[in-house]
Symmetry: D2
Subunit: 410 residues, 4 copies
């Protein structure tokens, strides 16, 4: 069995684990080193470091301090890696921690991060998903079961100082356009809750003050939340610093395109078994700016989809110009309305779209003025038939099972 | 064999065919009538009515008057269809006209419609694609051949007056925000080039003055340009007028998600064999606003993809807030840079992304401030290996084959 | 459009068409010539030359003289092809004749050829299948509709004299072991009904007396009845004579693995669009004895199967030694018993297994003494749910629709 | 996490584990009990109970006493199960034991069981396969790596006495037709090496004398070696005794259709996570004699196959009558010859066919006198291109790596 280079103890605070960090900065020391060709295992916390619990209250989702996320395992140094290389990562396998065969999904309160449909679902809600081997189901959302498309939401290499500065600069510029917006337009560095791995003292303080937050995906990959970066896929990451410094975390048991619920996919603590190799000078050879990847040879074979269209006319009937976000939001809302006819609450339907292996396609982006987006809902995940028929929908759910909700505290 | 209810003669002007129209208006008379359960065939012009020719000049792409599009066959009246029903359309088969086994793809000049990457490719360019049975290849773009995912770019039912007014109102409001923009933010009704089917005289003049342009997708479907609405799929269309009034046109032999080249997919004249049925009152039963559909049981099985990521930081390094359009544009540009390493010109690479069965996924829309989009390029369509290797790319093309380009006439 | 090199007139006897033949012999003159790289179209009769009609009687299936089959279009000569080469054939597209959008399936009487389950279904029966674009359904077998996996049942190159002699010798040796068996163990040359293309007079008589019957698949391919040799596939055929001499016929709209009903798949008249190329000396280079092929990039995506097992213990409980035929027969019989619970007659169930894109797998051949075979039945082809449930099967059919049957004439 | 009801200690003899047995007999006591709806984990030995070692000698494959196999974990009693029910088993997940991340494949000597191609590979050979997450590769067979289609080779319920007697009777009758054949036509009960679980004393002696050997698949399923009974599949087993008595073992990391190498697939020790449910009276409701099953929603997506045909003419040119075994053997031999052109030894090629997710299809069984079988080899498992090209095969292997072989001891 491959060696486990980073272990996490779910009973210990992530802040106490020196092989974990929650900010991007070139000064974060390597947590361990490997050679090209090595395969090894890294354990990870869930993205919140265990803040969200397996219970029936959404209070934790409401109350979480999001400045603490994401707790990443790493950075792993790779001998011989130099700026300009491509780090080739085979995600050989991914799983949940044995002692923790469950995950959570939820919506943040609009006052604490929100989500894609926060105007429609402004309060904190949560669902818990149990893992049964390859499959998952939730005691809060009846009638669905999926095979997990397990993947890391967040993976990438350390930025160099120049790239870090560019990130902080451009995000601050955006923030400055509307500094009081809730939720904020971006998340600037925030030293108070930074965990910089093995760094301590003044070096830590300096890096913490500059370290980029882990929320957005960026040139290095990072928090891409791409469901198809799943176990079995192969990823080519740009390298910016000597040793590359690969970190990973935010594991998801399953997620739909867009991770629309934001909190998040089906979030879990677990482990990643990976192998690393190098393509020397690969960034220039292939003109690579962002990571490229190849999907896994083994993914759920769901083939029977019901597909919902959305166009860039918003809920108020206002016409937007080729706006895929608006179009995808409409497709999602259309799917939610549809599922409600089968007895789901809107929140339950929203959760299904956020967690099932739903596809979101950019179907049309040139037919002025409407973008067209499609949401592909696999029908096979439902225990009953959701296809349209002349007879109309048969309501299988009686509404007795609902998702926990926690009102904001004023 | 099913009856061909609408025939088109490619040597005749589309304006002379009374079973064709190019605007949406409830007053367009039914071109023919069918009953629920019937299957039948409609022939169609290509979307430009034959303006673009099978030659090696892009002058026609530069010079086309886009107010003439799209030439649709229909409307087909369905006995018993009433507002509020769902019209269930089985696309039993789709093909090119026997005498016209080819299609075109191109980029409009930025001065005449542009396209998704018009700032990068501002001039008119064209490629011609020959159909060899299920497959297509182009004399202007070496090294690729695809199985066609044949579909209508445009299909839907007639709007009622209320919906038509809503369309015209909201689009005019958008247009008014920047009325002199090139290309325009929207296309208002334009009577001069309207073709209203069997309507004539005053009735025609009135409808032409109000008729919605066919460019954008809207609630009824319309110009969705969804590649997966392919032969074999089943579509559920909202019905707004008695008889439904189903029209179809703008056939594509193949297209990538987004139809990013705008002119367009691989555009062709052809025929659609379809069957219609009704779900009475289906819009309310299922909460349907936009069409929903089920994909075909038979589509290209391409499985080996190289996937490019893009984030919502634009070409100038400016940070945008969760903007999927910007992210998808970056993913497209990343793929183009990559393909250039194998000897393609940027224009050729752009054409491949616009015409091959490329997937565009909305991968992340909540990780503030960056949206993440992915472009899935099937590697199997290339005659050589485009995967990254330690050896670097092997350039198979010598640049001797290029796409026609036509400079703007000042 | 590619040129149609061989045309067939369904109103004319196949014997009158000089570009058609029904025996394998090196002396059959080339019907036409092409060059490597050419693509072209060949029209074909159905395998019986039109003997089986679109009606509701199985008399024609009972009465057919099987010595007349199969009517093949060809041979096509390929310039430059020499013995030892591989002829690479791209099946670019395949379809039914426009004037004949239907096919037939049936069981021969045990006295006239029988079939895989002839002991269970000893009498002539027939079903007619209508083609609706990509799909087919039968007025004799309710509740099923499939997307067609269209393919030629029979395709291959002319044998040389040495190979022909080997065929005739080994088949005669088998025949001699039980010469009076019904149905016969093999079919020897039979001049009376031979059609040798352009040959006439003495040359025809000589070749007709030696020409191998077209029934079995052999080293050259021939009547393989492999459903996956479908439109879009690429086949590498051994070449034995100068010019190769490629012939094709026996088109199938759809078929299950094994073609168990023998008469046969869904049999149709139609056309094949193909392209030919050569790999010089390819037989030795790749150690090729029988054809190899690559499947189509576009085939039905049916994914939800109900799989039936069979072992090599026969209907009488007798143990056979690792016999896949017995095992597959049991799997087929098990599937038929299952489908009868939903209201199908045994004959209807048998027809479904023979015509739908059913898979037959050789699952185990070493676990002494039982071979294990599996039959994969796609559940998505049924209009109702055939999966096992605690509630038991719901019978959707009332038995009012049955397949024509014709008793033997003593 | 689900409870592990049966544990196995790989350092302990399987004979010492009372929750393990190696014969089928209704008197084997239940090892543990569960209720319908329960999910639980069973650990298993590899089929030989650890006899085959992870080393570079095939002596163990040569010397094994095959009367000891297969060591099964169980029987698991299911409360409420009665004869005539269907036991519905969801294979929620399957994996290797953490301490044993490897498996073996081999060919038995013709003097000790042989295999499908034993006349061509008559001596004991072995290869060892390492598991790297989802993937496996062998130090004895370069150039291939597969995603594992993990499955139990052997799973089923206890027979009742009547069925057991029928098995023993019919197999003895076969054996009696050629009692001295090597390898034997069947394996009769053999008490000396029987392990009857918790049974002891006289009861054990009696059951051991009658207990059916576990080698063949039978009506209850048993040693089906069906690769598609993989993690994620759902199986419906006939129940013959009160409590059902489900046993499982012989786990495979990967296998090709037919398990042609016999020793066997990639054999491993591991665990199965499963859930059980009942369909009361399901055997009669659905006319079930042998198990039926539904494939997993998650299996390797290999799509690019090179397909080899074989017909029922044997290696000596002798014509057999519609014999699928002969046809499949020819297809296998054709594939081996092909792979040898790329530098593989015949034994290595044979091992690939036995262990990779190769499909074996019964393509034609009615075209007198030749059956046609096809072997589908996924090309994506190879690290180099194995498709035919005009250039001929490029030999990537230098022959320096070979499989261990052990000559028979006379």
């Amino acid at each position: 069995m491959a060696e486990t280079l980073i272990k996490v103890d779910l009973k210990q605070s992530a802040y106490e684990n020196e092989q974990v960090h929650n900010r991007w900065h070139p000064d974060v020391p390597m947590a361990c080193w490997v050679k090209p060709g090595d395969d090894f295992i890294l354990e990870t916390y869930d993205w919140t470091g265990g803040f969200i619990k397996n219970n029936d209250s959404a209070d934790d989702v409401r109350d979480i301090d999001l400045s603490i996320v994401h707790f990443l395992s790493g950075p792993v140094g790779v001998h011989g890696a130099e700026p300009g290389d491509l780090l080739v990562v085979d995600l050989l396998d991914i799983g949940a921690k044995d002692e923790s065969p469950w995950g959570f999904n939820g919506f943040f309160s609009k006052q604490n991060g929100g989500g894609f449909l926060t105007d429609h679902f402004p309060l904190a809600q949560k669902s818990i998903w149990d893992f049964n081997g390859m499959f998952t189901k939730s005691r809060h959302i009846p009638g669905v079961e999926y095979a997990g498309l397990i993947h890391p939401g967040l993976i990438g290499c350390l930025p160099d100082k120049k790239m870090l500065d560019a990130w902080n600069t451009r995000e601050q510029e955006l923030l400055d356009t509307d500094p009081t917006r809730v939720p904020g337009l971006a998340n600037p560095p925030f030293a108070a809750t930074a965990h910089m791995g093995k760094l301590s003292g003044e070096a830590k303080a300096k890096a913490a003050a500059e370290g980029a937050r882990t929320v957005p995906p960026r040139e290095h990959g990072g928090n891409c939340d791409i469901k198809d970066l799943s176990r079995g896929s192969k990823v080519y990451f740009p390298v910016y610093v000597d040793g590359a410094g690969l970190s990973v975390g935010d594991l998801h048991f399953s997620q739909g395109d867009g991770e629309i619920t934001f909190c998040g996919a089906i979030e879990m603590a677990g482990w990643v078994h990976m192998r690393v190799n190098l393509i020397k000078g690969g960034m220039a050879k292939y003109g690579i700016k962002n990571p490229v990847f190849k999907p896994s040879p083994m993914t759920p074979n769901y083939k029977d989809y019901l597909i919902f269209e959305g166009i860039s006319v918003d809920e108020q009937g206002k016409q937007h110009y080729l706006d895929v976000n608006v179009a995808y939001r409409q497709a999602c809302l259309n799917a939610i309305e549809y599922l409600k006819k089968f007895g789901y609450s809107g929140a339950q339907a929203y959760s299904i779209l956020g967690t099932a292996p739903v596809q979101g396609h950019i179907s049309g982006v040139v037919d002025v003025p409407n973008a067209c987006a499609t949401l592909w809902l696999p029908t096979e995940i439902f225990e009953f038939d959701i296809n349209p028929t002349a007879a109309g929908p048969i309501t299988m759910l009686d509404g007795s099972v609902q998702m926990p909700i926690s009102p904001d505290i004023k």
